[in-house]
């Protein structure tokens, strides 16, 4: 716990020193902010679930980055062509059995551990990007709706309502069935985009048809993801905009944009950050569900939901090991973010943070 705190504090201080070098006097000007960050770091290091969640997320991140490079079997090679008995072979654990695939194989005879390493990258990239694109869209719309009020508010919130009333899965399914053909055409001619996206997902460039399917899930999810944020941000902006500091900012002649982003946004951001953390978990599962329904990439891409759905056809006699192992991976990916979100909710809430500050000072006196 203590080492985590020290680590986080050194990160905070090196960031502060960097800012100091760029603009001298930064540390002195922002000393209260640095103190608050230190307090957050302390609160985080004291929260067991937060640390566990952080460790899981970090592990998933590392596996997602190096996974496709580490995978010892190419996903495009079907082993059953040489050896039919490799199809859905059960796990082979060391003491009794010393054969190669430790946790068994999938229906093409590929080692499922190696395949899951590719899967990590795909699921991780999709979930992160969906939230990182969808949340800002919702935040900006919510800020404008809450701050402007009147007709603008009414129009934006009506549109938000439409998207909330719209079955998200329908929209996602519709996009996932419509878009791939168009994106495919784009990827076919655009070499740079093809290289970029295949590198991002850890796939071969030849798989641009599957990349198109992945990207369309992506777009579909971004489109259904923002309304929740617009609503929550608008609600908080409505209460924040009446506060004296906003009035002071207005009187000092700041532009609307700088009031919105420099003065209002930081004050409504903490619930949004917590929601984003939870949403990454939801997005991971949602993307896997879409591929499970057969809307995502097809053969030979080792997407986790898609592999589970194929294994479902042989369930349970031959493929329960695949369902259990890949299901466990998806569970871990989502669990890490959920635990982290749980801890963040406490840390970002100023009331609980004050309680921690109080406890800290009492400890210091002893």
């Amino acid at each position: 716990m203590e080492t985590i705190f020290r680590l986080l504090r050194s990160i905070i201080w090196s960031y502060a020193k960097l800012r100091e070098k760029i603009s001298p006097g930064w540390i002195q000007k922002n000393s209260s902010r640095i103190k608050e960050w230190e307090l957050m770091a302390y609160a985080y290091s004291r929260s067991l679930i937060g640390v566990i969640g952080g460790v899981i997320v970090l592990a998933v991140f590392i596996l997602a980055v190096i996974g496709p490079l580490l995978a010892w079997e190419p996903y495009w090679e079907y082993k059953i062509v040489y050896d039919e008995s490799l199809r859905y072979r059960g796990p082979c654990l060391p003491p009794s059995c010393t054969g190669y695939p430790l946790l068994g194989t999938d229906e093409w005879g590929r080692d499922i551990i190696a395949m899951s390493l590719y899967g990590f990258r795909i699921s991780f990239v999709i979930s992160i990007v969906v939230v990182l694109l969808g949340a800002p869209l919702g935040i900006i719309l919510g800020l404008i709706a809450g701050y402007k009020g009147g007709v603008v508010d009414e129009i934006i919130m009506r549109i938000t309502d439409i998207f909330l009333a719209f079955p998200g899965l329908v929209l996602a399914i519709a996009f996932a069935s419509v878009l791939p053909q168009r994106i495919r055409g784009f990827l076919e001619v655009n070499n740079i985009a093809r290289a970029f996206f295949s590198g991002l997902f850890g796939l071969r460039q030849e798989e641009y048809g599957q990349l198109a399917a992945l990207l369309s899930i992506w777009i579909a999810m971004v489109i259904v993801w923002w309304p929740g944020y617009a609503r929550i941000v608008r609600g908080s902006v409505l209460s924040v905009r009446e506060m004296p500091f906003v009035e002071a900012a207005k009187l000092s002649g700041l532009s609307t944009w700088s009031i919105l982003f420099k003065h209002i946004l930081p004050n409504v951001l903490s619930p949004v950050l917590v929601m984003m953390t939870f949403d990454i978990a939801t997005a991971t599962l949602f993307a896997a569900s879409l591929s499970f329904l057969g809307l995502g990439p097809q053969e030979p891409v080792p997407e986790l939901g898609f592999m589970i759905s194929k294994a479902g056809g042989y369930f349970p006699e031959r493929s329960s090991h695949v369902v259990i192992y890949l299901g466990f991976i998806l569970l871990m990916m989502a669990l890490g973010w959920n635990l982290l979100g749980d801890a963040l909710r406490d840390i970002l809430d100023p009331r609980t943070r004050r309680a921690i500050e109080y406890r800290l000072e009492k400890e210091k006196k002893k």
Partner: protein, 352 residues
């Protein structure tokens, strides 16, 4: 402002929402580059005459807004026709939705059975093993991919014990169905309502007293219901626990205790005040279940709304897609309205 005018106002704001939902559905459908007519007819029956016939029937040659108005008009008059099965969309939609209603009711039952008692116990025994278990259940429910849980339950409760089966939906006997269909003629208004309720197989069987069908339905649907209950039960229990703890620490409870009320009536006060957030979440969950659990329906092989819509999208079956989306949007809106009205019933301080 009274409740009636509140409801009237809310219903007015629904109209643009519904039109917007339909428009978006239509525009997405319109943007599909593939030729829907080919997908409907199938390659075998393809000849230019039939294609042309279908195209004129569904106004494919007209500009998009005329097509849209045509669809809306058919939707509102209930004449929408399924071009793949050649029957009225609403006949099929009713039977599919009836199955989804059954699943939603069984799922909701499990949700309440799991969520409420666990939440109350967790609040009474704060920081006890039960409290911890509720926390774990809530975390697992939000972290476990639903389909993995479904497979796991199938493994445990179907493959090893055979306490359920995974095909078909039990229906009441033919005589019962025709009796219920004839009801509106003998009893004017009430009969219509009764026959509408009876079109859900489980309720129809109950009305005819065919309890073995009801038991069969439960046997068929308890596994997906249990799965849906487990997925959200932990979350509900957490909400119950948190709001109950909040209301137990409120001042009116202290006052009630100081007045010397019996423990039971103190609890009654606390429970009633804790119910507002619980009702919201339960209501929204029920709405979600009514919109069709596509993945559960896929894994457990249930011919419900979600599956119907999924198949329709896969075959570019626009009339069905439009009807399903409309139904789901209406469910969402009605559920939100009912939840708002329930607030006023539970909490007399809320006035509209």
């Amino acid at each position: 402002m009274g409740l009636a005018s509140f409801i009237a106002r809310r219903i007015l704001t629904f109209i643009p929402t519904l039109i917007g939902v339909l428009l978006i559905t239509y525009l997405i459908a319109y943007a599909i580059p593939a030729d829907p007519v080919r997908a409907w007819v199938g390659e075998k029956l393809m000849n230019p005459e039939t294609l042309e016939q279908i195209k004129t029937k569904y106004k494919f040659n007209a500009p998009w807004y005329e097509q849209f108005m045509f669809l809306i008009q058919q939707l509102l008059t209930g004449q929408l026709e399924d071009p793949v099965r050649h029957r009225n969309v609403f006949t099929e939609l009713t039977s599919r939705f009836a199955v989804t209603v059954e699943l939603a009711i069984v799922g909701f039952m499990f949700l309440v059975i799991i969520g409420l008692p666990l939440g109350i116990i967790a609040a009474i025994k704060k920081d006890s093993p039960v409290d911890f278990a509720v926390r774990v259940l809530a975390l697992l429910g939000s972290s476990l991919p639903s389909f993995v849980l479904y497979y796991f339950l199938i493994l445990v409760l179907f493959v090893h014990t055979r306490t359920t089966y995974l095909a078909g939906i039990p229906m009441p006997s033919g005589k019962c169905i025709s009796d219920l269909a004839a009801l509106p003629q003998s009893v004017p208004v009430l009969g219509n309502v009764a026959s509408a309720i009876g079109s859900v197989p489980m309720f129809g069987a109950m009305m005819c007293g065919e309890w073995s069908v009801v038991a069969d339905t439960f046997k068929r649907l308890y596994l997906p219901g249990l799965a849906l209950g487990l997925l959200n039960g932990g979350f509900i229990a957490r909400i119950v626990r948190n709001s109950l703890l909040d209301s137990l620490s409120a001042e009116f409870i202290l006052y009630a205790k100081a007045r010397g009320l019996r423990k039971l009536s103190v609890w009654k006060h606390a429970l009633r005040n804790a119910m507002v957030p619980v009702v919201t979440v339960l209501g929204l969950n029920f709405g979600g279940l009514l919109s069709g659990a596509i993945i559960a329906e896929t894994v457990f092989n249930i011919p419900g709304l979600g599956r119907y819509m999924y198949d329709a999208i896969m075959r570019l079956n626009f009339p069905v897609i439009i009807a399903c989306t409309f139904l789901i949007a209406v469910i969402y809106i009605v559920v939100n309205l009912v939840v708002d009205i329930l607030y006023a019933v539970i909490d007399p301080r809320i006035r509209y």
